[in-house]
Symmetry: C2
Subunit: 417 residues, 2 copies
């Protein structure tokens, strides 16, 4: 019996292969852009009819990914189901798969992507480097005193501060809590226990650099990887991605191999993003996302094949495209809504009103996701390709700032053009 | 009173600027792909609900461009009206403009694009080089004997053969008739007079090469141009586009200047394509199209800014993007439906069934327009960028052939990889 809130608004045209995307944010939107060129149909499952991908998707179902009827409606309209985000119910997906739906990436991969404890355990078991960590038993996570004791015991062995994480549901810095001592831990655990948040605790890693490696795989195991990039996060949110960045080539080579190894362990299909820490000269796996990822938006212009096209190719079991770079230096900077006290100079309408100033920046590839501006909301990104690292970065920031993006004080961006 | 056949299927979301496109073919489809990235809304006016751009356009009106109600419905939903093709009624457009609609390119430019006699007359008056030609008076075009006499008189001065053209309605080689003598002329004129086709006649030009220059302009007159390309037509239909091609750099420089001069005379806004003949070392303007054009599909991957993005920027009066090439050598080959006696080896379904073989070609950017395959129908194109002219051309043809495109015997394509 379909949920009354689920509405099939339109189907993709018949004939071509059709990919169903759970979620209709900017990743789904950019998948639609890539799909159009290859005549691949897309049906998105949007929570709201004004989600980013809704206007440009050939097919549209409005409903919740936690509603089995909505998920079943989507699966019934497409050749393969894939994902814009990890806020999915694996039980529903298992039911759909049992009913014959093709779900890519598959359940095993998604388990790793939705649950950091599963991810850490599988990578550690495979001998891949992760920060020292401990997953708290659910019975411990739900008891503030027991959780505090477990975390304090971990800190006794690894030192304060430690980083407490929600095993599920975190993204963009949400669900990640550095804690300096037992008191702060106790206060945090009272909140997380009340919310029923499953926890893990990790040693604090003194980070020298953050890297990302994005890998695309086909069901048969064919694999390609884009070259590693340097990323900069502020408060856990990605602000810029630099190819090749300031990475030592030897480190980049080890990062690429590690990314492929993680994808192999995950058994991924389509795109898988691996976020890495460089600490004390060693690489550690921080996060894994089994979908297109912010750290590879630069591939739209900066590589022969974009992550979005290769995600579609991968989940449809088509030959994967070249991941070679198309330029020597690429910078991609995220566009955020300005805080109210810093209105964009072009007026109150957000990126649209300031678009002319951004487009006037030489070589700026502007991507806006069609989202209503709010302070701190990710609204788009700007990519610049070229031959000079400082210049592409300065231009990308100039365009992002023209669109209202605040410049974080912690990034040493050279703004002169 | 709206025509009963006109149906507003959906509107573009509010907030962003919205471009209305008359026509919903592959040009409109590729405009939609570029518009999504910039959060520019698009509403297409499609003759049929399964036209190429219909599934990917945020807004969709189904109706005829010759129906004032359909055109008015489109104009009422958008900030600016632009075009996918020239099969438009200038009278309706003049009415819409008088009612306040913003139509770009404007009526003056469109007159040139829809009527070769107007185009030739304006360019000749501006001192720009065109083949020797004569426009037949409508009273002459409609009288087979008078038309034959006028054409024979022209041939007395310029020699046989001559090229007779329909002043309006021709495209892709349709409406272009080389005639060797008076008898053939008489037979042709009986047909064209019956059809009411307005005619012009041109001297036959012994072509050494065909070139195209594509120019983008803003309403204020700001102008950018992509570098000239070499094109190859077979039976009047474009089969491949090569940047920079085998053009002498001095010729390319003169072609670029001529393209800009034509755009200036046309007073164009958005993209304008100028097709040129190289004959006896001289450049002559062959055709002018006031819209994105097949000869610049290579700009999607081969240039910093694609023709589709700059068309949108131009008609919205936004700063134009860089037209610098992104690779040293670019080849773009059109994909056509195979004749029934040469079925594509992948099976009977057309490009979709043969897509895997095309995607397996290194560096092949495949674009399919979502059109039902028919022999000789243009279904897509493939672009390859690189550093070796022979290699990019061979790869583009390899992918196009994998998709079922017959290789014309007249093109000396080196197929070895």
């Amino acid at each position: 019996m379909p949920d009354a809130r689920t509405q099939v608004m339109r189907a993709a045209p018949p004939g071509a292969p059709v990919v169903g995307v759970v979620g209709a944010g900017q990743l789904a939107r950019m998948l639609c852009e890539a799909a159009s060129a290859l005549d691949i149909g897309v049906v998105v499952l949007a929570e709201r009819a004004d989600d980013a991908a809704a206007p440009v998707a050939p097919g549209l179902v409005v409903g919740s990914p936690s509603d089995p009827a909505a998920m079943r409606a989507l699966a019934g309209m497409v050749d393969v189901v894939t994902f814009d985000h990890e806020q999915v119910d694996l039980g529903i997906l298992a039911e759909l798969a049992a009913e014959g739906a093709v779900v890519r990436p598959g359940l095993e991969t998604l388990q790793m992507a939705v649950d950091k404890s599963v991810m850490r355990a599988r990578l550690a078991a495979a001998g891949l480097p992760v920060p020292p960590y401990e997953s708290l038993h659910p019975a411990v996570s739900s008891d503030p005193a027991a959780a505090t004791a477990a975390i304090a015991s971990f800190a006794d062995r690894h030192g304060w501060p430690v980083v407490v994480k929600a095993a599920r549901g975190g993204y963009d810095g949400k669900g990640v809590w550095p804690v300096p001592d037992v008191d702060a831990t106790r206060r945090l655990c009272e909140t997380t226990a009340r919310a029923g948040t499953p926890l893990l605790v990790e040693a604090f890693v003194p980070i020298e650099a953050e890297l990302a490696v994005v890998v695309a795989r086909r069901p048969g195991g064919d694999v390609v990887a884009w070259p590693p990039v340097e990323t900069a996060q502020v408060d856990g949110v990605c602000r810029e991605v630099l190819f090749p960045g300031r990475l030592d080539p030897a480190v980049a080579g080890r990062a690429a191999a590690l990314g492929r190894a993680v994808a192999e362990v995950a058994g991924s299909v389509g795109v898988l993003a691996v976020e890495l820490f460089l600490a004390g000269g060693a690489l550690l796996v921080n996060e894994v996302a089994a979908r297109p990822h912010n750290s590879a938006h630069w591939t739209i212009e900066g590589s022969i094949t974009s992550q979005f096209e290769n995600h579609l190719r991968g989940v449809l079991d088509l030959p994967l495209g070249s991941t070679a770079p198309a330029a020597a230096e690429v910078a991609s900077v995220n566009v955020f809504g300005a805080p109210p006290e810093v209105p964009p100079s072009g007026g109150p309408r957000g990126p649209d009103a300031t678009l002319p100033r951004a487009l006037a920046v030489e070589g700026a590839h502007v991507h806006l996701y069609g989202k209503t501006p709010r302070p701190g909301r990710k609204l788009g990104h700007v990519t610049v390709c070229g031959s000079d690292a400082g210049e592409v970065r300065a231009r990308a920031w100039a365009a992002a700032r023209a669109l209202g993006t605040p410049l974080p004080a912690s990034l040493d961006v050279e703004l002169a053009r």
